[in-house]
Symmetry: C2
Subunit: 213 residues, 2 copies
């Protein structure tokens, strides 16, 4: 599966398709058309058909796509068939909410270790997850062979902590700090900057009218 030429924009839509197809399967539906899928996930049907074309022949034209085959295929593609352990760095307000977020409920994603500087948190189990001191971060990540970390710490600590994480073997960082991290090429960073998202929304409201987009 390495190096296949799926555009990033397509890759970003896969989890969306996957989630909706699971809903369909649970409700007993066996076929879905690109139009129905389009209505549900708010992606135009031409884009859906193009996206699906990257994955070979998954459905017959005119009959719609087979829900179970699609799900099986996406499940493999999204690695949902194996458990992914994730480290949470920072158990402040946002980190705490992420611990309780339930990534694991519909997905094989599990926060398996949390790290914080606060002495009243370290050594405790929060929502089933052990909280380690920051000084144990590198050793625990190596020991548990964790490759993905969620960064929910103050901006001032972000780059230094990212450097430690990468030294420990982390290959993907979900970055909740507003810092644009400098990382080696083999490390993927997915940034979720909440202020940025909100500012963008406000900007769009002020500058785009319904006639556009």
């Amino acid at each position: 599966m390495k190096n296949q030429a799926i555009p990033k924009a397509t890759a970003k839509r896969l989890p969306l398709y996957y989630r909706y197809l699971k809903v369909l399967l649970d409700s007993g539906k066996t076929k879905v058309s690109s139009t129905e899928l389009s209505d549900a996930v708010k992606v135009d049907s031409a884009t859906i058909r193009r996206d699906f074309s990257y994955f070979g022949e998954l459905g017959k034209r005119g009959y719609g796509y087979d829900v179970e085959s699609l799900l099986e295929f996406f499940s493999k593609t999204l690695s949902e068939d194996r458990l992914t352990n994730v480290a949470l760095i920072g158990v402040g307000n946002l980190g705490n909410a992420l611990l309780k977020y339930g990534f694991h409920q519909n997905n094989n994603i599990r926060i398996s270790a949390a790290f914080d500087v606060r002495e009243d948190l370290v050594g405790r189990i929060v929502d089933g997850i052990p909280v380690y001191p920051m000084s144990d971060m590198e050793s625990q990540i190596k020991l548990q062979q964790i490759e993905i970390a969620i960064l929910a710490i103050p901006a001032s600590e972000a780059q230094d902590t990212a450097n430690l994480l990468i030294n420990a073997g982390i290959k993907g960082i979900m970055n909740f700090t507003p810092v644009r991290l400098t990382t080696p090429k083999h490390v993927q960073v997915q940034s979720v900057d909440l202020t940025n998202e909100l500012q963008t929304l406000i900007y769009f409201l002020n500058h785009y009218t319904e006639s556009e987009e």
Copy 2:
């Protein structure tokens, strides 16, 4: 400023530029080149120059861009010169973290009202923000003329609540539920699906190597 032709991709980068330019100004810097800006915000300098070209003549070639002029321009563009009140719907784990997130610290964005179903929360002031019952949502949003809402409630309630919000005059929704909302054309939705982001990151790790992108 209505209807000007700034591409959405450019608009999404404006808050990034803005935040970094404020850091520069605070540190006493008066000029910045597209290369320096590129290093800081991780956007290639050709893209930065193209982005800036949409805003007319903001800097002289060869001398770099004037930090203060850029900031003043972006500040107007991003409506940072006026306060934007936002409603928070749902004060659970994530909503509570968002209340404490400090959108207001560097921006004129303020959560001015929160809404929840829980009786132990309603009527209380949490982090300076009053929590109203859901039954007051429409009237309070109309009264306070709030145009933007953050949706941090269970998925099962998302569409119905969005409909009520839109009836009350909300024009922008920052959607933290995994539901793809159906909304009229004049309503902008910015979705932040944390599971989706994490799945995408895992997918990229498994399928893209450093030679790509």
